[in-house]
């Protein structure tokens, strides 16, 4: 019995948002009399952090502290239409809608402040800490709370904003496939190290080195969470999971987590992540969407690493010990390559 080590590489890009567009998102933003903002959406927070990333985008755009903003989602009576949380579209589409809604609300807030300060609204800036002041003259200042109170109780203004982001639906040429799929792509590269046991056929991923380009990491912790979890999912797709182990036969379909296998904490490989940020022209503060693409490079990197380790090409996922052993048997044993 010998354990063979191998390395495999893959690189990918990933389209952000629904293919061909036609997937609008809307947002409503308003302030209460204390200058505290509510962002109303119907986006779904699946755990990816939709509420948190839109909250940061709203606070940034409004120019107020994060704790002055809460996101309310998803109630169809109060949240305006959104296409949904899929296709890596949430941050890109909804983020832009929130920016637009926040800009409109901010403008009213600045006009209210301008009236109180008796200056031009165009000369005002926010400090992000709850104050509005004249650019270059920090002493001529009013709090966002005072501006909101003045707007609502003295001036009769509603500090609110509406936002929508839509890339209109485009068409596909049936003859050539010419189309405008999306406006921006995320990127990734991945090198995994595996160990293959030539007696049992078991494959263990022992290390992952990755680089992910995400436009802008709007919240670095949320990005890391997506990349770490997504790469785990990719590793699981590569070497563990399937609902139909003998596809296309439907036999032996698992019905619970005792038979539907996934890596547990003890199976996790150290994953060294590098995050690159090349802002998307039309992304919210340049953001793309890291949620889906993080899994994709792991699948091919694992099969390439198995080949590097023992010379067996597994072209049908998942990489099971059975497939590895059959491959080893067919070629008369391991043929380590160590080419990478």
């Amino acid at each position: 019995m010998t354990v063979h080590r191998g390395r495999g590489f893959a690189a990918i890009n990933y389209p952000i948002g629904m293919n061909l567009g036609g997937d609008p998102s809307q947002a409503l933003v308003h302030s209460n009399p204390d200058g505290k903002f509510t962002v109303a959406l119907s986006a779904i927070d699946l755990g990816q952090g939709m509420k948190s990333v839109t909250r940061q985008i709203a606070a940034e755009t409004l120019g107020v502290p994060i704790e002055d903003v809460y996101v309310d989602t998803a109630d169809s009576d109060t949240g305006p239409h959104d296409m949904g949380s899929f296709a890596s579209r949430g941050t890109h589409r909804m983020g832009n809608a929130v920016i637009r809604a926040s800009e409109e609300a901010r403008q009213v807030m600045l006009e209210a402040a301008a009236e109180e300060l008796e200056v031009d609204a165009g000369d005002l800036v926010t400090d992000g800490r709850g104050n509005i002041h004249v650019k270059g003259a920090p002493s001529r200042t009013i709090t966002t709370m005072a501006a909101a109170q003045a707007a609502q109780f003295r001036q009769g203004r509603t500090i609110a904003g509406r936002g929508i982001f839509l890339i209109p639906l485009s068409e596909v040429d049936p003859e050539t496939g010419e189309m405008s799929p999306v406006t921006t792509f995320a990127h990734a590269a991945m090198l995994v190290t595996v160990e293959v046991d030539d007696e049992t056929g078991e494959v263990t991923v022992t290390d992952m080195q990755s680089a992910y380009e995400v436009g802008r990491a709007l919240n670095p912790k949320l990005v890391e969470q997506q990349l770490r979890g997504g790469a785990w999912m990719g590793m699981s797709h590569a070497a563990w999971e399937t609902t139909e182990p003998y596809y296309p036969s439907r036999d032996h379909g698992p019905e619970d987590f005792n038979t539907y296998l996934m890596p547990g904490p003890g199976d996790l490989a150290p994953h060294h992540i590098s995050i690159l940020e090349r802002p998307a022209e039309d992304g919210p503060y340049g953001g793309k969407g890291p949620g889906e693409m993080c899994a994709n490079p792991v699948l091919p990197a694992v099969v390439n690493a198995v080949y590097d380790a023992v010379g067996v090409r597994i072209d049908e996922l998942p990489v099971t010990p059975e497939k590895v052993l059959r491959g080893l048997q067919a070629q008369g044993g391991a043929r380590p390559r160590q080419a990478l």
């Binding site: 994060i66 899929f86 050539t176 189309m179 380009e213 399937t242 698992p254």
Partner: protein, 564 residues
Amino acid sequence: MRDMTSDGPMVEFRKDLFADERDDNLNEVGKPTRRQDILGHVTGRSPFFDDHLFDGLLHLRCARSPHHHARIRRIDTSAAERMPGVVRVLTGRDVPVNLNTLLSLLDFGLDDEPILSENKTAYRGEPVAAVIAETEAQARAAAAAVQVDWEVLPHVLDVEEAIKPGAPAVLEIYPENKFVYHGKYDHQKLRYGDVDRALAEADHVVEGRYQMSPIEQAPIETCGAIAAPEQNDRYVCYTSTQALFFSLGTAAKVLSMPSSRLHFIGGTVGGGFGGKVDSVHEPLAILGAMLTGRPVKYAWDRAEEMQVGAPRGAERWYITDGVMADGRIVARKFTGYFDAGAYTRLSSYAIIKGVGHLPGPYTIPNVHADVYCVYTNRTPATAMRGFGITGVDFAIEAHMDKVAETVGLNPVELRILNAYRDGDMKAHRRLAKNCALIECAQVVAEKAGVTLSPQMKAASSLRDGGGARAELPRHTATDQEGRVEGFTATSYARKGGGDSPPTTAPPPRPASPPPAASRPSPPAPSQPAPSASARPEPAPEQATKKPARSGAMRFSSLSGFRRR
């Protein structure tokens, strides 16, 4: 910035790269702010759909087909109705509009899937009746007591078997087991340059076949919904959906109800990964609440989530590359088969998305693809993380490894050599911008100690793209293979589609070598040939019911913005 330990940092931000394209002077964006809802999540207080357990809540469970493919001679619910705790048993007759396709929300595709099947089932686990009872155990017991007189039909499970002449027809409206694109072809084409000529001129030809497995989305919270009568003659629906208005629109359509009478609440979901888009639970839970006047919960158990819930579909890809001795890829040809399972759901969309993604992140002057959405007698496939992309990226990147070995290049250098750069023309005929593949590959190579040549180390996404690489091919080889008759184009596909379909198809070109398999095949025995003048009739059992809709429906009209 870079905390290099002996094993390297677990996470690093390469702020040095693309620094001049970013303004990093922001207040809130870019901060690792703790999520707004985390305290509720970690203390078990965040309300998920299943936390809305109303007094008097009823439970709905479905009776399902045990066969891959079977005709329903008779459904007898009388024994189930007499079981303890049973309040009501629903069959297809109770569903106001018992035929839908999710993509009607996007004007795409024909209604093909019953909510509760009445005449035929096309996969093991397809629902034929829904039992509503006082407890989940009672509903489960009564669902097992629903009697169905089945006539088992021949079935097909493999995508390439399914498109052979004489294969059992999974769906009557697509008798050749292939979705129809643009009302015109039985697959989606990508044609860019002349692949066959470039393959003939290449130094090496590298071929491969790849199979992506079906995968369960495996959220911790299984899919479900709880509906209840609300005041003002409305219904509230708490749901685990990933797409609130998509599910609301689907329910409004299936229940033939103005969207204004539906109040959907969700937004906090225990994982989705694509498996919570299909809007299967909301319509039945609301229908149950309508017909019983009580709150109704419909949720999958884990076994249903894994075997009845739509998985990531399997995909099979054939790739042929033409490569020069120096590693430049000059031609890439794909034949792809998406296993949609028994109904379309979202697979037809994923294929267009996949075709727009080809040939991967590389600048290749000749690209050709035929991609088929194939029906088989298995659980319908649906979205999953990376939908339309993950499977083909597996194929492409496993194939790149073979290409690297063939030409004797380091696999990382092969990627950098062929990577797309700003200003390059892509196979879907749009210019590339905002590229970063090369930089990702370089960063990984550096970290992992892979030696790159000085030229590959110096390569950049920002340089050496465009120019001649921005030009469209002088000649693109096109063809009429896979032409179908009898379908009309809708939306996505209007361009060049069937606005005025010719009465006779142009003569097909000689078939290309396998596995293209795009020859017109005769209809399966006992299946009517598609009419040459109109879209196929709906299945007979549907013809006597209220038509689902007279034409394609826009999402905006479905969600009520135009209806009132």
